[in-house]
């Protein structure tokens, strides 16, 4: 039994809009990652997965606000800590973040090594510049990044290089948990592969102890992560191992998501392109019952009224739907 790196219990966060309305973009999310493991989170844009990434950092600034729940990193609960403590002792060292738009993630007018200096000194002001530069150099060499990029401004780097530099900077302090928010979606296929390879490589070498990988392409996660969760309208609707989720999705939404992208991967049958009709619900007034009922072709009237708990099945798996697993499997089989 390996160590639990990150455990989240019932985390709820909200956006407060200009008109003082609360929007619960992350609603009672619980998850768990063990050392050396990675977790994928999938969902359409607007389903709350990026907000979940921000919320997991335990460091909130407007319009995002903390509501309730616990975030426990390596046995330490950070949700009760003072913001400045979180900043100094958690961010970067315990938990780190790779943003969605790496293209613009770096301050355009600061040289890379200067920025690395800022990051290190924010946690340990006594570090001297020479040591930091040496450390940065050795890390860049280990990760196969050109050393001259350290002395450049972000604007002088190519897109793929920028993304890899961002990954190197995020992990410079060897965080226990790395949260990568669609780190590859804006890149071309070659750069995408390099980024994913780099992330796996860092797990293997122990620069990071665990990882959360967020994407809107569920099938992509099969290659990258050990476990997968599917998110819809601020809630987790299904979780399981990567293999189970890709080949045997139970929740109608996971299934739709799986089908909506055509990926000719080995071992997978060719899927028809089947986009899910409709858009995620307005979270200012979430639906009373199942949040997916509006778009679900298997929905029955009772779906709209009964709010649903996460139901566990087959060991570690879980899903959130009014129909039984057996019923859904039968329906799916019948369709094909």
């Amino acid at each position: 039994m390996s160590k639990t790196m990150l455990e989240v219990k019932g985390l709820t966060t909200k956006y407060i809009t200009r008109f003082h309305e609360d929007v619960y973009a992350v609603d009672h999310v619980s998850l768990k990652i063990e050392e050396g493991k990675s977790l994928g989170i999938a969902g359409e844009s607007g389903c709350g997965k990026s907000t979940l990434a921000l919320s997991l950092m335990g460091y909130y600034f407007p319009p995002l606000h903390y509501q309730s729940g616990d975030i426990i990193i390596d046995g330490k609960n950070i949700s009760g800590m003072k913001p400045d403590d979180v900043r100094k002792n958690v961010l970067g060292t315990e938990i780190a973040y790779i943003p969605q738009a790496a293209m613009n993630a770096l301050n355009p007018t600061r040289k890379i090594y200067k920025f690395i200096e800022d990051v290190v000194k924010a946690h340990d002001p006594k570090q001297d510049e020479k040591t930091i530069l040496e450390m940065a150099k050795s890390r860049f060499t280990e990760l196969g990044l050109p050393l001259d990029s350290l002395d450049k401004h972000a604007v002088e780097l190519s897109g793929g290089m920028k993304q890899r530099v961002v990954i190197a900077i995020s992990t410079i302090l060897k965080p226990k948990v790395l949260i990568a928010d669609e780190p590859s979606s804006a890149l071309d296929v070659t750069s995408q592969k390099m980024v994913i390879k780099m992330l796996r490589d860092m797990m293997d070498r122990g620069f990071i102890k665990s990882m959360i990988f967020i994407t809107h392409e569920l099938p992509l996660l099969y290659n990258v992560t050990d476990n997968i969760m599917v998110m819809y309208a601020g809630q987790i609707v299904e979780r399981g191992s990567a293999k189970e989720m890709v080949f045997d999705p139970i929740h109608p939404y996971s299934r739709g998501l799986m089908k909506s992208i055509l990926v000719p991967e080995e071992g997978m049958r060719e899927h028809k392109l089947a986009a899910i009709p409709g858009t995620p619900p307005n979270l200012k007034k979430p639906p009373q019952g199942c949040r997916f009922a509006e778009r679900c072709k298997y929905a029955v009237p009772s779906c709209r009224f009964n709010s649903l708990p996460m139901i566990e099945f087959e060991g570690e798996r879980g899903y959130r739907c009014g129909h039984s697993v057996q019923h859904l499997r039968e329906v799916y089989q019948h369709e094909e």
Partner: protein, 334 residues
Amino acid sequence: MKGYRKYFTKKVIWFAITFVVALALNFILPRLMPADPVAAITGRLVSGSSDATAAAKVYEHYQEEFGTNKPMLEQFWIYIKNLFSGNMGTSFSQYPRSVNEIISSAIWWTICLQLPAIIVGWLIGNLLGALAAYIRKGFDKVLMPLSLFLSSIPAFGMAVILLVFFAVNLKVAPVSGAYGFDMIPNLSWKFIGSVISHYQLPFWSIVLISIGGQAVGMRSMSIYELNADYVKYARFLGIKDRKIVGYVFRNAMLPQVTGLALSIGTMIGGALVAEIIFSYPGLGSVMYSAVTAADYPLISATTLIITIMVLIVTFLLDLVYALIDPRVKAAQFD
């Protein structure tokens, strides 16, 4: 540094072309008009003035010096030649003073007044704009409309208001001129003191005017930068807010340098008119008296000098900007 040299050469060529265009416009525009303004003016002078022979002499002198009776192209050639030998002709209204003499005594007053005033206004405006963007809430709610209102007051209006309030009513500052009217410029403490006290009102009126516009621009720019992705990323790396605010303001401030370069032409226009209100002996007042006295060579020379000044300042700002902002470096130096 090789890239910079290329950029520099490109800029030099570009400004040289602009300079030639400005020269040509300065030469052609008055001559494109239905009547030759010089002839028209001297004609008016001859018929209206009691000193008709003097006016005729002025005109003859001018004709000889600038060859106004020769073909256009040759005139332009003479104009350029005169200009480069540093001869801008003889003033009609202050004959026989040369235009060079009049302008060289006025230009330093203008430079010493406007350059510091615009720079100080720029700095204060940017600071206030940055603060408004950072603090938001009450400070912003008050400062924004105030800056907007300040920037809406015309420069001459601000000059008049300051003049009436401080010089006429409170009598804490002199009403007009650049130094006591009974003084002859010298290097005594008394003279310097007088210059400083005369300097205050024109200076602050220009500063106040530039603050408003700069503050509004800087605020928008800072808000835009505060929402940038790199701010969020830096925060999540645990970097202190104070440091991040430093990033943001540096990044927002840099484009304001270009903003200054682009708007300096407009600002100078307003500031020159403000000079008239204070009878400050700079180019603005020279231009005013030249227009009133229909002194064509003087007007033409003042406009040219102002254009050249603006060109030089813009050129320098462009060069400095490229050095301090790596974003331009990346875009321009390849």
